[in-house]
Amino acid sequence: MAFKGGDLLSEKAAGDGHGESSSYFDGWKAYDMNPFDLRHNRGGVIQMGLAENQLTLDLVEEWSKNHPEASIGTAEGVSQFKRIANFQDYHGLPEFREAMAQFMGQVRGRKATFDSDRVVMSGGATGAQETLAFCLANPGEAFLVPTPYYPAFDRDCCWRSGIKLLPIECHSFNDFRLTEEALVSAYDAARRQGIRVKGILITNPSNPLGTITDRGTLAMLATFATEHRIHLVCDEIYAGSVFAKPEYVSIAEVIERDVPGCNRDLIHIVYSLSKDFGLPGFRVGIIYSYNDAVVACARRMSSFGLVSSQTQYFLARMLSDEEFIGHFLKESTRRLAARHERFTSGLREVGIGCLRGNAGLFTWMDLRGMLREKTPEAELELWRVIIHKVKLNVSPGTSFHCREPGWFRVCHANMDDETMEVALDRIRGFVRQHQRRAKAERWAAKGQLRLSLPRHGAAAAASPYLALSSPMSLLSPQSPMVHAAS
C-alpha cells in the first residue's frame, strides 16, 4: 500500500490550526518574492507587516562589544562555558531570573516589583501563550479576547491545546476601548452557547492598536475576573515600547494599588524580549503568574521551550546593568516617539488619520474612506492594491478580527529612516492618485445628474475623509439623486 505524504497524520497536523492557509499570507509571499532593498531593489515590496523593533539594536550591539565576558565563547567568558553549557535546570539560571524580575520592574517605572521565583521561561511569547492555555483551560473551553487582536493568538492559544478564543467586540466610536458592556455581552453569549469561559486575554499595550489600557479598565477586568472566577492573562510584551503619554499601567500595579481584594491566583502576565529589546531570535519568553500552582505547572512545561543557557547568561548580565538599561529605555522611547511622529505626520499630510497611539511598533491606520464599500471584501480589495501596486506589505484589519473594515496595521519600527521615507512617498502618491480619481468620478457623476450639490460639496471640503470617499456613497438609497440618475 503506497503511503502518501499527508496520510496518517493527526487531526491537528492535517487541519488549519497553524493559521498559514489564510489569504493574509499573500502579503508575505509578495514580500518574499520581491523584497525591497535600499540599494539593490528600490522597486521591491517594503515590509510593513512585521512588528519588529530595529531602532535600538545598535545600543545592544555596543553593550555586547564592551562586555565580551557576557558571551561564554569569548576568551573573557569561556571559563564559564562548561557550567553554562551543562545547565539545563528548568528553574533557569538564578541570575537570569533575578535580572529579568529587576528589568520587568524597571520597564514599569518601578511602580511594581517582580519576584524572581515567579519568573518562568518559555519558547518566546508564542510558547508562553500556549503554555498558559494548556494550564488554564481544557479543550473546548474558551478565553475571551478583545478585537482587534494579534492574529497568531488563534494558533498560539488554540492549535495544540484545543481551547477556543471568543471575541469581545470593540469599535472605533470609542477608539476601540474595551467596555464592561462588551465584556459582559461576550461572556453571556458564550454561556448561551454552552461554552465554558475560563479566562480573558488582553494585550496591553495593544497589538494592533498601539494604545494602552487605562487603569480603570484594568481594574474592571481584575474585578470581573475575580467575581466570575476566571483567569486574566495580560500580554505585556510591548510594555517597554510606550513612547508618549498617557503613562503605562501594568496589571501588576493595578492588583497592588487599585484592586487589592482581587484574587491574585487569577492573574498571569506574559512577557518577552522580542519587541522591547528587538531580540526575537533569542527566544526569550516569560510567564509571570501570581498563582503558585500555575508557576509550578508552567515551569514543568517549560522543558518544552527553555531559553538557551548561553542566552540566559548573556541577558542576565545585560539586564542587570541598570545604568545601561535606564539609558536604553530612555533612548528607545525617544526613537520610537520620533519614528511614530514622522510616520503619522507623513500620513496626515495626505489626510490619512490613525488611531491616536502612544505605544508599540506600529500604527492603526484609518483607510475607511478609501473603501469601495464598508465590507471585508472591499478591505481585502484595497489591501491587494496596496500590496501589488503600492508595494507595501501592510496588515488588513480583518486579519486581526476587526469588525470594522478599513483599518490597517502598519509597522514602522522595522526599517531605517530612508526606507520609511520611501514608504511614505509611496503612500502619499497612492492616496493623491486615489483622491484625483475619486474627484474625477464625482465630477463625472455630477455631469450626468445635472444637479448642484452645494451641501455635499461643503461637507467634502470640511472633512478630509469625505474627499477620499468613493462616489458610490453619494448614491445611497435614501438620496434623491438615485431617482434622478435612473
Partner: protein, 452 residues
C-alpha cells in the same frame, strides 16, 4: 482612582486549572524523584562533602568539554558576532522557523559524520526544536491523535512518559523486552503490544525506538531494525527513531541508523518506507550541551517536515546559539576530531566502570554506546530466596541511595519488566569520583557476599 473593594469571601481559593495542569502525567510525583531529592539534600563534593550522594542518575556527557573549550579559545569569533556592522543585528532579528541555513547544514554534516558517511542528510528536512524533549512531543502531536497509542520497547527513558503523553493525550503501550535475548526487540513482542493496544480500543500510530538505547547502552542490530521497519510497513504506522546518542557509539558493532535502511530500501525500489520514518537528534548528549537546547526532527515525509516547521514556533533554538554552533560544527577538522576523541573518552570510561563493577562481582549488559551501563543486580535482590520483585528492587535501590550513597536509576523507573537492573551513568563526573563510586559499590557487594 479607587478600586472596588471586594468581599473577602468572594474569589477565595483558586479556580480550576486545566486537567492537563492537575494531572500527574508530568511524572514528578513519581517515587524515583526520591533519588534526586537525596542527591539535592546531600550532594557529593570531593572537598566539602566527601560522604555525600554521588549523582549517577544523570545521563550527561562531561568527558569531552575540553575539546569544545579548546575550539572556542582558538576561534573566538564563533561565540562573538564576528566583525562587520550588523551581524549582531541580523542574528538578534533572525526569527525564521526554518532555522539558520548554515546551522542546518552543519547539523546535517555532523549527523553524516557520526554515521561514518553511511547515510546522507538533507538540511532542508531538518526542523530545529529546543531540545529533543520538544522534538519528541512535537512529533507525537503530528503523528497521533489524543487516545492513540505509541509502542515503545522497554526499558525506556522515563522522561518519555511526560514528553510523549502529558499534553498530547497519547498513550504509551510498552513492548516488553527482557534479558533472555539481551533485551532485543522481537516481532512477537511488537505484535503483542499492538494487540494489547487494539484490545484497549487504541489506534496504534507508531513505534518509537531509541537507538542507541537509553538505558541499555546498546545499539540496535541491523536485523532487528529491519524487522521493526517491516512491522511498521505491514501495520501502516510510523517509526520514530530517537538517535540522540548516535555520536556516543564507542565500540563494535557500528551504529546502524534507520537512515541507512531507508536509503537502502529506496535504492531497491521500496517506496513505502521513507514517508513513515522520522528521526530525532540533539546536541545535549553527544556534545554535552544540554543547556543550549538544541534538538531536531528529521523526517522523510514532506507533510511532517512542513507541519513540524510550523509547530516549531513554540520551541525555536536561540539564534545566538545557532550561530555559535554553526561555526563550530561546520569546521570539519573540529567535527572529525571531536567525534573520534569523544568516542575514545567514552570507551575508556565505559571500560573502566565495567572492569570495576566486575571486580565487585557485578556484571552489566554488554554495551557499546551511550553514557551509562545497564547493571545487573538481580542476585542482590530480596533476601536471596530468588523472588525478584519490583518491591525488592526498590528496597535495593533505597539501600544504594541511603547506605551506599549512589543515586542510580532502578529499572522499574524505565518500565523494565524484569526487576533487578539499574542504569548507572559514568560520564557526568570526574574519574576520581567514578573510582570512589566503584569503591563504594565494592564495599557494598563485599558486605553482601559476606552475609549471603
Amino acid at each position: 482612582m479607587g478600586g472596588k473593594l471586594l468581599p473577602a469571601a468572594l474569589g477565595a481559593g483558586s479556580p480550576h486549572l486545566s486537567q492537563v495542569a492537575t494531572s500527574a502525567a508530568h511524572g514528578e510525583d513519581s517515587p524515583y524523584f526520591a533519588g534526586w531529592k537525596a542527591y539535592d539534600e546531600n550532594p557529593y563534593d570531593a572537598v566539602t562533602n566527601p560522604d555525600g550522594v554521588i549523582q549517577m542518575g544523570l545521563a550527561e556527557n562531561q568527558v569531552s568539554f575540553e575539546l569544545i573549550e579548546g575550539y572556542l579559545r582558538e576561534h573566538p569569533e564563533a561565540a562573538g558576532w564576528g566583525g562587520g556592522a550588523g551581524s549582531f543585528r541580523d542574528n538578534a532579528l533572525f526569527l525564521d522557523c526554518h532555522g539558520l541555513k548554515s546551522f542546518r547544514k552543519a547539523m546535517a554534516s555532523f549527523m553524516e559524520k557520526i554515521r561514518d558517511g553511511k547515510a546522507r542528510f538533507d538540511p532542508d528536512r531538518i526542523v530545529l526544536t529546543a531540545g529533543a524533549t520538544a522534538a519528541n512531543e512535537l512529533l507525537t502531536f503530528i503523528l497521533a491523535n489524543p487516545g492513540d497509542a505509541l509502542l515503545i520497547p522497554t526499558p525506556y527513558y522515563p522522561g518519555f512518559d511526560r514528553d510523549l503523553t502529558w499534553r498530547t493525550g497519547v498513550n504509551i503501550v510498552p513492548v516488553h523486552c527482557d534479558s533472555a535475548n539481551g533485551f532485543e526487540v522481537t516481532v512477537a513482542a511488537l505484535q503483542e503490544a499492538y494487540d494489547e493496544a487494539a484490545a484497549a480500543g487504541m489506534r496504534v500510530c507508531g513505534v518509537l525506538i531509541t537507538n542507541p538505547s537509553n538505558p541499555l547502552g546498546t545499539t540496535v542490530k541491523r536485523t532487528v531494525l529491519e524487522d521493526i521497519l517491516d512491522f511498521v510497513v505491514c501495520k501502516n504506522i510510523h517509526l520514530i527513531s530517537d538517535e540522540i546518542y548516535s555520536g556516543s557509539v564507542f565500540a563494535a558493532p557500528d551504529l546502524v541508523s534507520v537512515a541507512e535502511l531507508v536509503e537502502s530500501r529506496a535504492r531497491h525500489g521500496g517506496d513505502d518506507v521513507a514517508n513513515r520514518v522520522h528521526i530525532v537528534y540533539s546536541l545535549s548528549k553527544d556534545l554535552g550541551l544540554p543547556g543550549f537546547r538544541v534538538g531536531l526532527v528529521y523526517s522523510y515525509n514532506d507533510a511532517v517536515v512542513t507541519t513540524a516547521r510550523r509547530m516549531s514556533s513554540f520551541t525555536l533554538v536561540s539564534s545566538q546559539t545557532q550561530k555559535t554552533l554553526a561555526a563550530m560544527l561546520s569546521d570539519e577538522a573540529f567535527a572529525d576530531a571531536y567525534i573520534r576523541t569523544n568516542r575514545e573518552h567514552l570507551r575508556a570510561r565505559h571500560d573502566h566502570i565495567v572492569a570495576g563493577l566486575a571486580r565487585a562481582g557485578v556484571s552489566c549488559l554488554r554495551g557499546n554506546a551511550g553514557l551509562f551501563v545497564w547493571m545487573d543486580m538481580r542476585r542482590l535482590l530480596g533476601d536471596g530466596d530468588g523472588d525478584a520483585t519490583v518491591a525488592g528492587e526498590l528496597r535495593l535501590w533505597d539501600k544504594m541511595l541511603h547506605d551506599v550513597k549512589l543515586n542510580i536509576s532502578p529499572g522499574s523507573s524505565c518500565h523494565c519488566s524484569e526487576p533487578g537492573w539499574f542504569r548507572v551513568c559514568f560520564a557526568n563526573m570526574s574519574s576520581a569520583t567514578l573510582d570512589l563510586a566503584l569503591a563504594r559499590i565494592s564495599r557494598f557487594t563485599d558486605g553482601w557476599n559476606c552475609c549471603s
